[in-house]
């Protein structure tokens, strides 16, 4: 499904890392970003983010569940996937995936369980049937709501969140490293790759949280917490600035140095990658949200305007980050190692690694989130009728 210009090595007519490998860092990015939102509240005590702090965790969990799917679909032998943990090869950047991913998921799950223990304990008296059994199981039989126990939960949660931050950074920084560590592909070869991946992860995570939060509130006809939204918008703006500046700096340094590889890359940017990189990723989906978010932050906009513009920016940035993943993953493979040609990639709709499977994999976390929300109350308001006063420990 590829065509070529110039001279391309005969084995390079096929692009090996397909849409699946574009989608995989996209999903891990969202996980890492969402986790960082919840940590802003749990570790850095950004009080305004309290309304979305739990939602962010469950959001991260639902994407975490699907994170390996694109990889498994991509592997030639998915049935051997556990080799990566059974016979890991220490010099390979990719060998760490199994460990990093599992550790991160365990921390995430533990944090969720500790945060929700008290919530479930409070909800138990009003719950019956299967749900009650489930809640009891998830509290591990400990329904104690005394201040001492709550304080303990809180302490554990803070520690988990604290360990979780570097883990989330490792999870995604390491994805950047997988690309940045390939010396044969000039488009990937930059020590900044892990950092750029991490910052764009934060952007996509926060944008995902904003969009999810607003959609749920509108759907349930509940008021939006403006303080929370505008704080999210501020963080989104901050991370976006860092992200865009670093990406452009990286490009700028290469363009200025003009070493041999640049002469190939400049044709890539002005040719096959022009639309998706310059026009879409930078001009439309970075600069416009940059301006909108800047205005929202500096002019302290509130009300409907804030909600609509925040939604617009969030959607645009979710597209921007997908473009970024595409431009990195596919862009790098477009340049032939012969230095004399380019390969194009047109994913088919029904292909095994094509557009339809990608859409399904990207929709799956949303569906999983919907079902998880039935078990894990995402919002503090949902325990409103509780007879006991809710201690603000979680």
């Amino acid at each position: 499904m590829a065509d070529v210009v110039g001279y391309v090595f005969p084995n390079e007519h096929h692009i090996h890392w397909s849409l699946m490998i574009v989608t995989y860092p996209y999903i891990t990015g969202i996980i890492a970003g969402a986790f960082i939102v919840s940590s802003l509240y749990h570790v850095f005590h950004v009080k305004a983010l309290k309304p979305v702090s739990r939602f962010a965790l469950i959001f991260a969990l639902s994407f975490g569940i699907c994170c390996t799917w694109p990889l498994l679909n991509h592997l030639g032998h998915p049935e051997r996937c556990f080799n990566i943990m059974l016979t890991p090869h220490p010099t390979s950047a990719m060998a760490g995936f199994g460990y990093v991913y599992s550790t991160y998921m365990i921390i995430l799950l533990l944090e969720i369980l500790f945060i929700y223990r008290a919530v479930f304990a409070r909800l138990l008296p009003q719950t019956t049937g299967f749900k009650a059994t489930l809640y009891r199981a998830l509290t591990f039989g400990n329904t104690d709501l005394s201040p001492a126990t709550l304080r303990f939960d809180h302490k554990v949660t803070s520690w988990l969140a604290l360990i979780g931050i570097p883990m989330a950074c490792v999870l995604h920084g390491y994805v950047g490293f997988i690309f940045g560590g390939v010396k044969a592909v000039h488009w990937w070869l930059t020590p900044l790759m892990p950092v750029i991946f991490l910052l764009s992860a934060c952007v996509s995570g926060i944008a995902g949280i904003i969009l999810g939060y607003l959609l749920v509130q509108w759907w349930k006809r509940r008021p939006v917490d403006e303080e929370c939204l505008s704080t999210l918008v501020k963080y989104l703006w901050g991370f976006l600035i860092l992200d865009v500046v670093l990406e452009l700096l990286d490009l700028g340094v290469h363009a200025y140095l003009r070493v041999e590889s640049w002469h190939v890359l400049e044709h890539l940017i002005s040719g096959p990658l022009f639309t998706s990189f310059i026009v879409m990723q930078i001009l439309i989906f970075s600069f416009i949200p940059l301006v909108i978010l800047g205005v929202l932050t500096l002019a302290n906009v509130r009300g409907k305007a804030l909600q609509i513009l925040a939604t617009l920016s969030a959607v645009m940035l979710l597209i921007q980050v997908y473009c970024m993943r595409w431009n990195v993953v596919i862009g790098g493979q477009m340049v032939s190692k012969s230095g004399r040609g380019y390969t194009f990639y047109h994913p088919g709709f029904f292909e095994k690694e094509g557009i339809l499977p990608t859409i399904l994999i990207l929709l799956a976390p949303v569906i999983i989130l919907f079902f998880l929300a039935k078990v894990f109350p995402l919002w503090m308001t949902e325990e409103g009728q509780n007879p006991q006063p809710i201690k603000n420990f979680n």
């Binding site: 001279y7 090595f9 005969p10 084995n11 390079e12 007519h13 096929h14 090996h16 890392w17 991509h74 592997l75 030639g76 032998h77 998915p78 051997r80 996937c81 080799n83 990566i84 016979t87 890991p88 090869h89 010099t91 390979s92 950047a93 990719m94 060998a95 995936f97 997988i178 560590g181 390939v182 010396k183 044969a184 592909v185 790098g332 493979q333 032939s336 190692k337 012969s338 230095g339 004399r340």
Partner: protein, 255 residues
Amino acid sequence: MNKGRRKFLGYLLKGTAGSLYWMLPLPIKVPLQIPGLGEEEKYDPEAHEFVFMVDINRCIGCGSCCVADKREYQVPDGQYRTWVERYLITVDGEVFVDSPKGALEGYPEPRKVEKPVRDAFFVPKLCNMCEEPACVQVCPVGATFKTDDGFVLIDYKRCIGCAYCVQACPYGVRYIHKKKRTADKCTWCYHRVRRGLLPACVNACPTGARKFGDLRDPDSEVSKILRSSEPLFVLKPDMGTFPRLKYLHLRQEVI
């Protein structure tokens, strides 16, 4: 029985016996092509250092090597363990490269170039068997590995088909085998070499452009070339992969 018929039957008998010679699993000794290999008691990989050399000036782009290779390994269409590139360099330094079907059908048609040509030659490509192979470094499960006698091979039973090695190889020699769904590449015919045979492509090359041998054997052709003043080069030396595949008379335009 008349004479003619007796003669005919005699031929028939001899013919049958002769063909049986090829069919029965008799302990026939294959004539060794790599001196010294068959005589060892036990093969000691560390006692050998194999190199591959390609003489650009000798290659005529006939594609026999590619055909031999495809046959030896049943390589799927559109994938190449080895291929031959055609270079045309014009007087003003413009470089034209092509390799239709990896030169499986040779180059029956000359390539038309508008400007006068300064230099024209063919470059066979295959795995460089790097001393510091990027493909081995990145393989997450250790399916790609290096042997003590200098070969980089793939364990097809362990490979998960992630294609990381395909990305990491600077020379574009790897691919994900369409049927095996694992990584695959040129092996310098390790299975043949261990039996004392030359790689299939070296055997097929009519001009001696492809050379193979043991550097530890001072009488081998490759050792002699190495000790001579012939100009030897490797591809992409700045990649730090230290290829064992050496090119004689390589032009700087070749990547």
